[in-house]
């Protein structure tokens, strides 16, 4: 169905698109930790409509870019090759991935490289990356 131009351009429609596309990222509002200086301001469902669609798009893309870094060990989009000892990330619940990363970061989960890598990511980074992988179904 073709939306009418008026509907198309309404901020409500844009907020709807953003909410669908960024459903996972909107969870960043749950983050209790302060944002790093370099990260863009986060917004939850309540103010999704207040950000420009460009700002929303840029934020999704930043999460995608950050998640792409993980592919060197975890495979493209978090899908490692068959029989890899490295766990997949694609499609796993956001809360599970976030919890594991925070445990690595806070020294509560043993590992080889991951405890060292997790310490380089802010809580907001971790939430955004976890949300991005959760969306890879």
């Amino acid at each position: 169905m073709q939306p009418s131009p008026r509907y198309l351009l309404s901020s409500r429609w844009m907020a709807g698109v953003v909410a669908m596309a960024l459903a996972s990222l909107s969870s960043m509002a749950w983050a209790q930790s302060p944002q790093p200086a370099s990260a863009p301001m986060t917004a939850g469902p309540a103010d999704a409509g207040k950000l420009t669609i460009e700002a929303q798009r840029a934020r999704v893309e930043q999460a995608r870019n950050q998640a792409a870094s993980c592919a060197v060990c975890h495979g493209t989009d978090g899908r490692p090759p068959a029989d890899s000892p490295v766990p997949p990330l694609a499609g796993r619940p956001r809360a599970e991935l976030t919890e594991i990363m925070l445990e690595y970061k806070n020294g509560k989960r043993p590992g080889t490289v991951m405890p060292q890598i997790a310490k380089g990511y802010s809580d907001a980074d971790i939430l955004a990356i976890a949300a991005w992988f959760a969306d890879q179904k």
Partner: protein, 422 residues
Amino acid sequence: MHRRSVLKAALAASAFGMLTPAMARAAAPARVVVIGGGYGGATAARYLRTWSQGAVDVTLVEPDAAFVSCPLSNLVVGGFRQLGDLTIAYDKLTSRHGVKVVRDHATAIDTSRRQVRLAGGTTLPYDRLVLSPGVEMQRSAIPGLATPAGSQFVHAWKAGPETETLRRQLAAMPDGGTFAITIPLAPYRCPPGPYERACVVADYLKQHKPRGKVLVLDANADITSKGALFREVWKTRYAGMIEYRPQHETVDLDPVTRTIKFDVQDDVRADVINILPPQRAGAIAVSAGLATANGRWCEVDFLTMASRVAPDIHVLGDAIQIAPLMPKSGTMASQHGKVAAAAILQLLAGRQPDPAPLYTNTCYSFTSATEAIHIASVHRYDATEKTMLTVPGSGGLSTAPSALEGQYGVAWARSIWGDMLE
């Protein structure tokens, strides 16, 4: 397409983070040429296609028929792997991702006309150029290598025929012989690689030529990467077999008497001599005037990987002037490739690139045929310093070599090869 349909599609594409420069331009697809099919270039080519949903025309120029990995190639020198295990064809880049692969040498870049000239005679026009030329081995820095007898001495620092040559030389060495590896002053490709090679060669000798020796002749003042771990392995696993000599800068070689000459220290004779010459950015980067750091390395804007002197040329991998604590590694080249791909698509669409790149380096070194150690680091863009800086408190090293990390090292290779080529 109806105007509002176009707008709808553009908005939807925007919202879903998919870039469609062709839509934005409403004209012929943007053309990106990628020179070099290594870790940086192949990754950039693949991600330019994936992230643009196939909207950008990508041509990869690569003279070799297949990718051959430098990481893991020391295991081939030691006889623990075959070169074929490290070789992957480029065909899936074309069949799955629509990258046009041109098997040729890029010989020159015409920056004003935005064209790449190929040895075969054709020219390729580009809107954006990705240059991932690797390193040039400066064999002329060691005059003895340029003599006819000098040609038998290989660096094997680009995986391929030289890797197998060095393997054969090691296999032919008599028990009780000495394998010498010389290391240039940093920066050079793969900082821990020479020390890994010493370990793997020693593991081979231990099993097959137990009276053999490995001499590590390093121009640097100390081991440049994973030093404490390598020292411990050499002291324990390879006691009396590996000897490390710092501050040995190789200046010449007598290929007939097999004697290495240094700037200060006494000459050294060895049975197999593996000389790693000084290195600089690949020749095409130097001839295009992009090697602005001491005429050796290409300075880039780390937000886009664009050259400091040619903003529509994005330079990746070992050829760049590195940020602090950034190694010249395959993982890092791959990360550069993704930053460049994302930034190019933004720039083609008239948007600002991601203002805060954030990525990791994970590098495994084998200390034997099966055990490995790692170094990891996290690099975040610093807007004040305008470079990538490691995040304080992050990163680190293995506590000791392990078979588990050996498995992770192999898994890393399979994963990153798939990410760039499959």
